[in-house]
């Protein structure tokens, strides 16, 4: 079994989703979460609050600094993620396809070390 990170990326500044679409997405995601748990592929998952809520901590030369906002100053931001365990990449990709469709956003699949 390998573990994979399925990271959902949102694009900042993209038109905000309607409440209706958001509810649809939540519903789909719920369904996927149930399937993941039922098949034993679920390890962990969740949606993140927007990048504004983030804080970056750096330790350099023994000195700690904290900055408001996300690390990456890019338009693409992490919206949420799953950690799944699968036999191989094809299984992880199959889950990622469902997730990308549910969230209506691209999903990056990255294997864990080990």
């Amino acid at each position: 079994m390998k573990q994979y990170l399925l990271a959902v990326h949102s694009v900042e500044g993209a038109p905000t989703r309607s409440d209706e679409d958001t509810q649809i997405a939540y519903g789909r995601v719920d369904k996927i979460n149930n399937e993941l748990q039922a098949t034993g592929a679920w390890v962990f998952g969740g949606g993140l609050l927007p990048p504004d809520s983030a804080t970056v901590v750096r330790v350099e030369n023994g000195k700690t600094t904290m900055t408001d906002g996300p690390f990456a100053e890019t338009k693409e931001q992490l919206g949420g993620f799953w950690v799944v365990q699968c036999a191989d990449l094809d299984e992880a990709l199959a889950w990622a396809e469902k997730c990308a469709e549910a969230c209506m956003e691209p999903v990056e699949v990255r294997p864990f070390q080990g």
Binding site: K2, C86, A87, D88, L89, D90, A92, L93, V109, P111
Partner: protein, 398 residues
């Protein structure tokens, strides 16, 4: 040298089997290369079944080597290997192992360039310098693509398996594309000599294996038909002086009749199946081109109409326009091309030039030929375009 030719034909097959036995491409390649080194020493004449000898030797050497190593990967591979000890060793004409390997090499998670390089290396048995020469890309670049691809397969856990039936609609096209690109590169090389026979031969060989392994996949049959029907015309493609000869001017007696017959037969099989697809239609178009003395352009145009619904791409519009010119005249064809944009594609400018010349619009034709000449990267094609341009009289009023 005989061993070299055995290496070429058996390498892919043997590596494929060892990948199944060892679960790792690098280990599989090392094992097979080890075995060929042993063959070089031990064979006075090759055994009746060289592939089986190689696989057995490779397996035994791999077991020995793994026993000596203590890494986790080695232990895992050893376990896999010993577990499969009792399986019958078949290195038949065509194996599921190769099919597995082709689909692995052409996995969508790998970069397209990597898929081609890996397929040529592992299944085609081509060495890195040969692949580099074929694509006119530095050896280091090819080597790196292959190394990265193998690493991605290992790190991301790309499995070695033939996709299930329900996955094939997504997984088969990249394989067909790799083989098509391989052939195309061989048939109209980007630079250097116009035709690189070894790439064409390799593509056809692998396409044939794909058909043998998946005889019910109509697009696989279509691709093989397309490659055969195109390859059949190769002997007539260059004049004795090495100049490009277009289809209408080719010496048909030079065409390979066996390949044409086989191509036609495959197209008929596809038609009976009635599950049309892009490769099948392109094959059918080439079948019409190679059928009898004249060219049935009306039928070709109808086929392009069908192709356009499946593949509404600018290149198809362009190729269809050539048929439109034959059926409805050059002016109609030019109208079809008015909205087509293919920046950097010399054949668009070349086609426009030819149509304009046929309409007597030499000034505009000359400009279009100039554009095509500037864009053409292949010396033989460029020389051809220059010859055509030289026939024009640009002083003529449009």
């Amino acid at each position: 040298m005989e061993l070299a030719s055995i290496y070429r034909t058996e390498y892919g097959r043997c590596v494929a089997t060892l990948v199944r036995l060892l679960g790792d491409i690098n280990l599989a390649e090392e094992a097979v290369q080890d075995a060929f080194a042993a063959a070089l020493e031990k064979w006075e004449i090759p055994p009746p079944n060289p592939g089986a000898w190689i696989v057995t030797t490779a397996r035994n050497r791999a077991i020995d080597r793994l026993r000596r190593e203590s890494t986790r990967e080695a232990r895992h591979a050893q376990a896999l290997l010993l577990h499969q000890q009792d399986e019958p060793q078949e290195v038949g004409p065509v194996t599921d192992d190769q099919l597995r390997l082709i689909f692995t090499c052409c996995h969508p998670a790998l970069a397209p360039d990597a898929r081609t390089a890996l397929t040529l290396r592992l299944l085609g048995g081509l060495e890195v310098p040969e692949i580099a020469r074929a694509y006119l890309v530095p050896e280091a670049t090819i080597a790196q693509r292959i190394v990265r691809a193998k690493k991605k397969i290992r790190d991301a856990g790309i499995p070695y398996r033939v996709p299930a039936a329900h996955e094939l609609p997504d997984r088969l096209p990249p394989v067909l594309t790799v083989l098509y690109l391989m052939f195309n590169e061989g048939y109209t090389a980007t630079t250097g000599p116009l035709i690189r026979v070894d790439l064409c031969t390799e593509a056809i060989r692998l396409a044939r294996e794909l058909v043998a392994l998946m005889p019910d996949e109509p697009e696989a049959l279509g691709l093989l038909a397309l490659l055969l029907l195109t390859e059949a015309r190769r002997p007539a493609r260059l004049s004795p002086a090495g100049e490009l000869v277009l289809l209408p001017d080719q010496e048909r007696s030079l065409w390979n009749r066996t390949q044409i017959a086989e191509g036609h037969d495959l197209v008929r099989r596809c038609l009976r199946r009635n599950q049309p697809g892009p490769y099948q239609i392109q094959a059918a178009i080439n079948a019409v081109h190679t059928d009898g003395a004249g060219t049935d352009w009306i039928q070709i145009l109808a086929l392009y109409d069908q192709l356009l619904t499946l593949m509404p791409t600018p290149v198809v519009v362009l190729n269809r326009a050539v048929a439109v010119a034959e059926v409805h005249g050059p002016a109609a064809a030019l109208a079809e091309l008015a909205a087509v944009e293919l920046p950097g594609y010399h054949l668009l400018a070349a086609t426009r030039a030819d149509l304009l010349a046929r309409l007597g619009r030499d000034t505009a034709a000359a400009a279009a030929y100039d554009q095509a000449i500037a864009l053409a990267t292949n010396e033989t094609e460029r020389a051809f375009l220059q010859t055509r341009r030289a026939r024009l009289d640009p002083q003529t009023e449009d």
